[in-house]
């Protein structure tokens, strides 16, 4: 008589709190040194090679990976703490974050040994930026409609076609991309795609900027014109990439970055409301706090399940669905609650600038990394409806 959803009340163990203190001290130093401004999300470049190297030197990239590849063999929960503290502080982690969250774990699973030894330690040192090559001009959420092609040649493959919405492609060192190596079969339309590791310095690759409506250069179009990829850069099974996609989803979707991108709105709202808010301000704030606390407890629970070796795909999708919808509505709610604050509040300029940024950013939250519709399809499948 019960639905099969699990969100155990995982608590972060004591070693996480010691780590949190170290992370906060490090970020405070970086802020003091002028590396970034915690009150200005969206201003400046979120890629910072020097900063990422310092993060790597701290041992906070590839934290859960084996030591023989440069990792630190720490827990998912410790990685969780670093991720959320960086996100809340608006630290410019974009350069190493995709590699740390997604690309590294894929390499760990599917790359040949010599490639692991070559690349993973460099990721851990904060030296490498990765880009994900999945969407194409004609295929977004429908991943398996990808057309960009890899053709077998002596010693490797020639890639032709284009990938789009590729975050960080203009600074990336490597792409993990899906390319068509065979046509789909009648029985399985997901058949025929292969995952490749592509060196972005390869001849025949052009990166064209696409500016976002926030004014930021978030993503790009990457065009491949006979770009060569050697055989040992094939990740996993040829034509069988569809079998490899699922286990990473829980990592990608349930993290705190899914609902903390515009977190700094909340402290600004608290500052604007002052220590004695009116009834409306207090109730609005209280609900937002309860909702955020709930999301965080869910997200930590999924991290705990990952640490325990489970594959909480449905739970991870639920966290991203609820988290992105919540964050999308956040600027709207903050705007409403701040509408009647005293004209002389000291942080009005900061609040208004952050509100403007978050309002323009909001539409993308439910699109990137799996749209709301796709997530709900996955949840529905998990419920036994598909």
């Amino acid at each position: 008589m019960s639905a099969d959803l699990h969100f155990d009340p995982i608590r972060l163990p004591p070693e996480c709190e010691a780590l949190r203190a170290q992370v906060r001290a490090f970020l405070a130093e970086e802020i003091a040194a002028g590396t970034f401004d915690p009150h200005e999300p969206g201003r400046g470049d979120s890629h910072n090679r020097a900063f990422s190297r310092r993060v790597g030197a701290k041992g906070w990239i590839g934290m859960t990976w084996p030591k023989r590849y440069g990792g630190h063999e720490r827990s998912q929960l410790e990685r969780y703490v670093v991720t959320e503290e960086f996100r809340v502080a608006n630290a410019p982690a974009q350069l190493h974050f995709i590699a740390d969250r997604q690309s590294g774990p894929i390499l760990l699973k599917y790359a040949p040994e010599h490639i692991k030894h070559d690349i993973l330690p460099r990721i851990c040192r904060g030296e490498l930026c990765f880009v994900i090559g999945m969407s194409e001009p004609g295929s977004g959420s429908d991943l398996f409609a990808a057309k960009a092609k890899a053709t077998k040649v002596g010693g490797g493959w020639r890639i032709n076609g284009s990938k789009i919405w590729t975050t960080s492609a203009h600074v990336a060192d490597y792409m993990l991309g899906l390319f068509r190596t065979s046509p789909p079969t009648r029985e399985n339309r997901r058949h025929g795609l292969t995952q490749f590791l592509v060196d972005m310095k390869t001849k025949g690759i052009t990166v064209n900027p696409i500016y976002q409506m926030t004014g930021q250069r978030g993503f790009n179009e990457v065009v491949f014109d006979d770009a060569f990829v050697p055989d040992d850069h094939v990740m996993g099974e040829i034509d069988g990439a569809w079998k490899q996609a699922t286990s990473e989803l829980a990592y990608e979707r349930s993290g705190p970055e899914r609902f903390l991108e515009t977190f700094s709105l909340l402290p600004e709202l608290i500052r604007a409301l002052g220590p004695e808010p009116d009834l409306r301000g207090a109730e609005g704030l209280g609900r937002l706090v309860a909702q955020l606390h709930t999301l965080r407890r869910m997200s930590v629970a999924v991290a705990g399940m990952l640490q325990a070796g489970q594959e909480p795909t449905v739970e991870g999708s639920i966290v991203k669905d609820l988290g992105t919808i919540w964050e999308q509505k956040l600027p709207e709610r903050v705007r409403g609650l701040a509408a009647f604050t005293a004209p002389e509040i000291t942080n009005r300029t900061t609040l208004e600038r952050q509100l403007a940024f978050a309002t323009v950013l909001a539409p993308k939250l439910t699109i990137q990394g799996g749209t709301t519709e796709i997530l709900r399809g996955i949840i529905a499948r998990g419920l036994g409806l598909r």
Binding site: M1, F7, G274, L279, E315, D321, A380
Partner: protein, 380 residues
Amino acid sequence: MMSRIRGLDESPPSEAARIAGLRAVVTDGEIHIVTEAAARIFADLADPQTVNKAKDDGWKAPLWNALSAAGLPLAWVPEALGGSGATLAEGFAILAVAGRFALAVPLAETLAAGWLLARAGVPAPAAPMTLAPVRPHDRILIEADGRLSGRATGVPFAQDAAYIAVLAEDRDRQSIALVDVKDCRLGAGRNLAGDAANVVTFDRMRPLHYAPAPEGFEPLSLPLMGATIRSIETAGALETILSLSVAYANERVAFERPIGKFQAVQQNLARLAGETAAALAVAGSAADTLAQAAAFDEAVFLEAASAKIRTAEAAAESVAIAHQVFGAIGFTQEHILHRFTLRALSWRDDFGSESYWAVELGKRIARRGADDFWPLVASR
């Protein structure tokens, strides 16, 4: 039965833990034994279909007798005071199962009443109980000679209970009293689901027993405990609402397909799963916090208040979706859906509504200030 599964604590609890009645968490295995026992009794004697078809309340006595025989109603009363001395964690686990059955007898209320009485060392009678006040602005005053006066509204199952555990106050301190329902004036009243919810008037009446609440028992201790209890029951009810809705969507054929095959319906059910998941996560987190806390501190406040707010919001969303999935049949008396949906909606009002707790939580967060906000959230 439970006292045989688990006796009183081997080691004496700390002073702070004694005040709150809080003890170390027990293992999953022990919890499992207790919840299995509860689930078996509910399945045998409180089956929602059977109860829904029943013409009268004849099913209630056998159910209560079985629950009592298993030591469940007085689970939170130490053996020395007449109970079965279970941990808070065990009791919360029982209530999660009770929520899944949308139980319509005062099990949660008797558990909570026993817990409240035990705070002051007042022995608990072996009978159905309830507790007062359950609404934040109701006050019951105690005079120097122990007489109680005041009014408590929406007291769940008061007319079905034999006794009421009362949290009363005089100018500067609180007392906990045991009252015979017959000595109070009861006004008629029912919640949305038809369960008794009476206005209870205390007209300078004498309690059977009373004793001062222990040092450290705050005015908010009872509301926080009650909020956690209702959150757990609500999450349980939502679990069943989700299961029923998914099963129905897979069965019911329209336009030549099970309606669960339509994307519009799937999207709604995915949202229902999300709301259920949120309720389970936040209620489970609050229960775990209370079960391990040394005192009713800031952490307990954040967890319990958030649980009441978020489970109430989840209830409203989920009830709307579930009824939409079921269509007209779910709106009938004959169908069991309302047993779960109407209780989930009713429980929102007990021990502080989501609006009440949101105001209280918002005020606290504002008082702490912007810089202390993230550290508090991250401390959980």
